[in-house]
Amino acid sequence: MKTIFELGKAGRKGTSIPKCDVPLPKHIPNELKRTEPAKMPEVTEQDAVRHFTLLSRKNMGIDTNFYPLGSCTMKYNPKFHENIASLEGFTELHPLLPQLRHGCSLTQGSLSVIYESERILSNLLGFEQFTMQPMAGSHGELTGVMLIAAYHKKRNNTKRKVMLIIDSAHGTNPASAAVAGFTTKEIASDENGNVNIDKLKEALGDDIAGLMLTCPSTLGLFDQNIEEILRLVHDAGGLCYCDGANLNAIMGRVKPGDLGFDVMHVNLHKTFATPHGGGGPGSGPVGVSKRLVPYLPVSQVVKRPDGGYSLEYDREDSIGYIAPFYGNFAIILRAYAYMLTLGKEGFQRVSENAVLNANYIRYKLKDYYDQPYDRYCMHECIFSGTRNLDKGVHTLDIAKALIDRGIHPPTIYFPLIVEEALMIEPTETESKETIDHFIETMIEIAQLAEESPQEIIKCPVNTPIKRVDETLAARKPVIADF
């Protein structure tokens, strides 16, 4: 399909701009002038709308397809959230307004949304306070480990430079730790998918700043030794970070703060039903226990004794400004609407049904796909696409066969410690009928892989394009039509 730049014709316009009602300004000095107009599209509004509408139809989304992308919690995004997020009272508010004199009085509605959602998260997850500023999950991770760095720095504990990471962790964990100035040490998982306690004990010492732990783990498992793990790290003088990517499994059932975690990020675009946007914007609020509160980023929205809301900047030990303002407000707003809709009963129902659906898939598919860990899972189940490797069928092929059958593939080849990993997260919003259809499709693919593997290997054939030459893309990169 042609790009937007290849459409149109010189002189075509997509928008009418008002005539200038003031005198024309002085000339731009020659040395500052743009020499040639920027080669932007020259299309009518209809051209543009048709082009992008046609493009949208080359996508799979939650609204069009089952999308069991593990660790991404692709649950339904309620439509009234979009209406609320487009209210002018929210969209047109300039972020510098509350920084003007008496400016907070001009933004009480938005400040209240930030504050009240912060309170719900704190109460739901057992933390003292959240910062709503981080703009994505990995941004939350970075913020969280920076808080840990600040905590040790305040105690002049300059030796604590090592962050422990579990081998099943998302790549963002070690990457975030590195951006916060830590070196990382990897801890292996044991044969049951839990943290290997002996290896953890070996690693602990006075150079340990903390441990980053995904709870439940990226293997979709709840570590039965979690309390012991946290105790061991704390006894060694480290702090414990909870990666909340998988919060959907335990929301309303376990409070990570009460469990002993010192800091945690949550992904509003996963657990709290805000749209994933094709890769963002997300939002990654970070909650902390009492001892990390002094280090939270500025500003923090606070509730005054008179019931109004204001911004607090005066925090001596704060790590500073991680975001230009108060976070991805429009995302926080959608998540707030979701939290208000669910309420305390809803939070529990979400995690229960998410876990139930994943276990149902696990049970129904375990005769057809290899299971690296044969135990009850949390909100996602993991298989290895290893059964027909000798016939040349890999996990990638299974994924492409699913696309042909109208299902977005699960997460594949992650976690790295599972061979040919297929990570399936159905979420609570999908019906038994949809899940049964998925199960039948997976079984059909498994049987086809057994009997006529070439039928799977050639997939996909029903898509706008077939498999892409990724080597060519990386070797001779064309990344812009400049």
Partner: protein, 446 residues
């Protein structure tokens, strides 16, 4: 319960088929034996109707009826309705990162087109899919320069957005990077280019400037870039994309990396986000860039196809040695910017920029007619400028709010010797009448 599909009967069937008596049995088998925590301090659920009512009420508590002359890097520009219409396509907004190209050609081609659009605007040939915002993009650029040059000193111009500078400071605090800030003359609106040039040495990794600068002034940067390059340092600038419709491109000037805040391109102010960080670089630095990158390739039939590429730079492969920790970016905001640029178009973008510039100059003249108000600096500016009031600017701003105007930003908050200075921004949305009204009100409150 909304958004949960399982009926009670479904639940029973599912539980039975996984050999569980009830939900607590399943929790236990899944390894959760902790007691159920109390959720008493959480509210009870509400219906869509009730929640909508509450949030509409909150929206109405915000003051959005002010005539807006506030900028500071975030501007009240016109957004064509088509932008919202396309963003509302749930095939776009309910998808995720396009890991599976065959199921994501829509998102991927849109990213490729966005990368192309921002490259064409900035005059640099390579771009990524997006970063969080202008400030984090600047930090990423600085770290990229540190990686490329293997040096650790970053020189930052004092006329770079104070918001971005505080963010650089925050992120650098645990890293082996030294920030050297070159202060500006508080009675002027220009960068201190001589100071920057003097500070550049053999151990400089990069020089970071802003174009137009935080006071709205548009400056030539060729000399600074030349000196930076002579010392094997990279030249980085943060820019305002709308301004680039009229001004020499950072690419033509010779910058190595350009970053910026893309909010002005069809993204609502939204009280601080989501926004759009962007980054464009010279081709030779492409493989050192952070973030997602979409490339054009072919499929097995030789048909054109788009795919995420150069992934060996990223966290999911390189882990602690990745170019950045970024994963989710601001994809949908980049789509807004692309649709905006498509609808506004080649001539429209120039018209918008010219309107901004004309109205800003008119506003400045009108404001300077007021007795007691003095100009600060006399350099070429785009759509934002500073004036000096005869009294504390913060107070005046407060009084102007009562008159219905967000008159601008008092610079004293970020520059201690600029207490009386006011930063005023004017976009194409402001009319002559509104500008005259502003000047009249300002005269009245002084």
């Amino acid at each position: 319960m909304p958004y949960i599909a399982n009926t009670d009967n479904d639940r029973d069937i599912l539980l039975k088929s996984i050999d569980c008596k009830d939900m607590s049995d399943l929790w236990e088998r899944a390894g959760i034996t902790l007691p159920q925590p109390s959720l008493d301090n959480l509210p009870s659920g509400m219906s869509e109707m009730e929640v909508t009512k509450i949030l509409k009420k909150e929206a109405n508590k915000n003051a959005t009826d002010l005539t807006n002359f506030l900028g500071g890097g975030y501007y009240d520009h016109f957004i064509p309705a088509a932008v919202g219409e396309i963003l509302g396509r749930s095939e776009f907004y309910t998808a995720y990162t396009p890991y599976q190209p065959e199921a994501s050609q829509g998102t991927l081609q849109a990213i490729f087109e966005w990368q192309s659009a921002i490259c064409r605007l900035t005059g640099l040939p390579a771009s990524n899919a997006s970063l969080y915002d202008g400030g984090t993009a600047m930090f990423e650029a600085m770290m990229m320069a540190v990686r490329i040059t293997r040096k650790r000193k970053a020189i930052v111009c004092g006329a770079v957005s104070p918001i971005f500078r505080t963010m650089l400071e925050c992120y650098s605090s645990n890293l082996d990077v030294e920030l050297i800030e070159i202060p500006v003359d508080d009675n002027n609106s220009v960068s201190n280019q001589a100071g920057l040039i003097e500070a550049i040495s053999d151990d400089t990794a990069c020089v970071i400037v802003q174009y137009p600068n935080a006071f709205g002034t548009v400056e030539s940067w060729e000399k600074v870039i030349e000196v930076a390059h002579s010392k094997k340092a990279l030249a980085i600038c943060s820019t305002y994309p709308i301004a680039l419709a009229l001004y020499k491109t950072p690419g033509e000037m010779g910058f190595d990396i350009v970053t910026g805040e893309g909010q002005s391109l069809g993204i609502p102010l939204n009280f601080g986000g989501p926004y759009l960080g962007f980054m464009c670089v010279q081709k030779k630095y492409m493989r050192k860039m952070p973030g997602r990158i979409c490339g054009r390739s072919v499929d097995s039939d030789g048909k054109e196809a788009f795919v995420l590429t150069l992934q060996a730079r990223e966290q999911h492969i390189r882990r602690e040695n990745a170019m950045s920790n970024i994963c989710s970016n601001e994809n949908l905001c980049a789509l807004s910017a692309l649709v905006y640029l498509s609808c506004i178009g080649k001539s429209g973008l120039i018209e918008v920029a010219n309107l901004c510039r004309s109205k800003a100059e008119f506003a400045r003249e009108e404001i300077l007619k007021i007795p007691g108000i003095k100009p600060i600096g006399n350099s070429h500016f785009f759509n934002e400028f500073i004036v000096e009031l005869p009294c504390d600017a913060g107070e005046v701003v407060g009084k102007m709010i009562d008159k219905g105007y967000a008159v601008g930003f008092p610079l004293g908050k970020y520059y201690k010797n600029r207490n009386n200075q006011l930063l005023v921004a004017v976009t194409e949305k402001r009319t002559k009448e509104e500008i005259k009204g502003l000047a009249n009100a300002l005269e009245a409150v002084l």
